[in-house]
Each structure stands twice: as C-alpha cells, then as structure tokens.
C-alpha cells in the first residue's frame, strides 16, 4: 500500500477524472463535446482544463477565430502516464 496506492488528487476530482478518461482513448476532443458530456458550464470546464494544462497533462489547440473558432484538447505523454497510473491504482484497489 502506502505511496503506490496514492491517487493523483488532480485527476481524482470527478469531472477531471472523466475528462482524462475521454482524452485517454481519443486523439483529440473539442471543448463543446466535453461540455456536453460533462454537463457543465463553459467557465467550469475552462477551469478544469486550465488545471490539467498547468499540470502538463493536456495541450490546448485553437483553430479559427471568433464564433467559428474551435478549441480542442489532447493528452500529453505525462497526462497519459498519470491517467494510466490512476486507473491501475483504482483497479488494484478493487482487487484488495
């Protein structure tokens, strides 16, 4: 147990955990899709995404300008490893 079973607090927040899970299986996902799936306001989602981007877990890509602009997100290798570690710990906990 001990440190090896420590859950990453940044991922453990329910909405961020779902964001990480969705990004893990996709190449990239648009802001609007995440907002729809998570049923959160744009400002709440922006805060979550900023937290994940600041930690180096996701990268943001913006294309176009104004209303036609699209913001998409992609998991970084660090984020991928962090999610894999988080998932492994959760799976291990279930086996205990």
């Amino acid at each position: 147990m001990g440190e090896s079973l420590d859950l990453d607090p940044l991922i453990h927040a329910p909405k961020r955990m779902q964001i990480m899970a969705m990004l893990y299986v996709a190449t990239s996902i648009d802001f609007s899709f995440l907002q729809e799936e998570l049923e959160v306001s744009a400002s709440v989602l922006s805060k979550h995404m900023s937290a994940l981007a600041d930690a180096g877990y996701v990268v943001v890509k913006k294309t176009g300008h104004g209303r036609s602009g699209v913001t998409s997100f992609k998991l970084t290798p660090t984020g991928r490893r962090a999610y894999e570690n988080y998932r492994r710990i959760v799976s291990d906990l279930l086996k205990l």
Partner: protein
C-alpha cells in the same frame, strides 16, 4: 489521498469506463443517412459511367462521365466536411475490440458489394449491364443500413456492459 472504500472504488471505475466509452459513441456521426445516400449515388454513377463507356453506342458517355465526376467530388467534399466537423478524433485502433471488428466488417461488406457491382458491369452482357447502376445504388444503400444497424447494436451492447 486516502484509500477509497470498495463501493467508492467500484463507482469510480464505472465512471471511468463510461467516460472511456463516450468518445466512441460519436462514430454514429459517420453513419448519417445523407452520406450513405450520397455514397450509393456515387457508386451508381461510377458503374453507369463504365457501363456507358463500354456500350457500342456510348450515347451518354460524356454525360455519365460528368455525372460520375460531379458526384465523386461532392462525395469527397461532403465526407471531408463531415470528418472535419466531428468533435472527437480517434483512431480505430483505440476503439474497443467489438467495435473495431464491426467497423472492419462494415468496410468488408461495402467492398464486397462494390466489387460485385464492378464485376457485373464488366461481365454482364448488354442490355443487362444497364441494370447494374440501379443494382449498385440499391446494394450500397442496403449495406449502409446494415452496417449502421450493426454498429448501433455494438454500441448499445458496450453501453449495457458498462452500465451493468
């Protein structure tokens, strides 16, 4: 971070599985009827062009060629727009294995259907050859709806598995 209880762990794991499945549900976006219909017209127009070019008279050769090229361009542009508008991008390799198999089967079904149409237009005698475009169009529509139904069914099964 404190250790989760067994119940909490199960909830977290289920939430993870649900979230991991969500991006793949967008594959439905690719099975929109108008694209299936456009594809069917595209295959029909191509076979019409070949059938006409092979005919002794070739009366409609130019027009069927123009039609085939036009539909081809419209189909390519429409598919590109549809793909560009998708809000989730993923490679088939990351999809659950059941879905991967179904996508593969769907492609094989279309290839088989198109292959039969192509062979028919080359092998059948006139005037039977003129029926091939209609057959190709209908066969393409049928394969599209079969593929769509099967993919829908796989997605439903995956959702049920996750929801327990």
């Amino acid at each position: 971070m404190s250790i989760l209880s067994s119940m909490e762990t199960k909830t977290v794991l289920r939430d993870l599985q649900r979230a991991e499945l969500a991006p793949f549900m967008t594959i439905r976006d690719l099975y929109v009827p108008w694209l299936g219909f456009l594809r069917a017209v595209f295959i029909g127009a191509l076979t019409l062009m070949v059938a006409d070019m092979q005919s002794r008279e070739g009366t409609f050769a130019v027009w069927s060629f123009v039609l085939a090229i036009t539909v081809t361009l419209v189909y390519i542009v429409a598919s590109s727009v549809l793909l560009a508008r998708r809000r989730v991008r993923f490679s088939n390799a990351s999809a659950p294995s059941e879905l991967q198999k179904e996508i593969m089967r769907s492609s094989m079904l279309h290839i088989t259907s198109d292959g039969i149409s192509a062979l028919a237009v080359f092998l059948l005698p006139f005037p039977v050859k003129w029926m091939v475009p209609a057959f190709a169009l209908i066969a393409s529509l049928i394969t599209f709806y079969i593929s769509r139904a099967r993919v829908e069914s796989v997605l439903k099964d995956l959702q049920e598995q996750v929801n327990g």
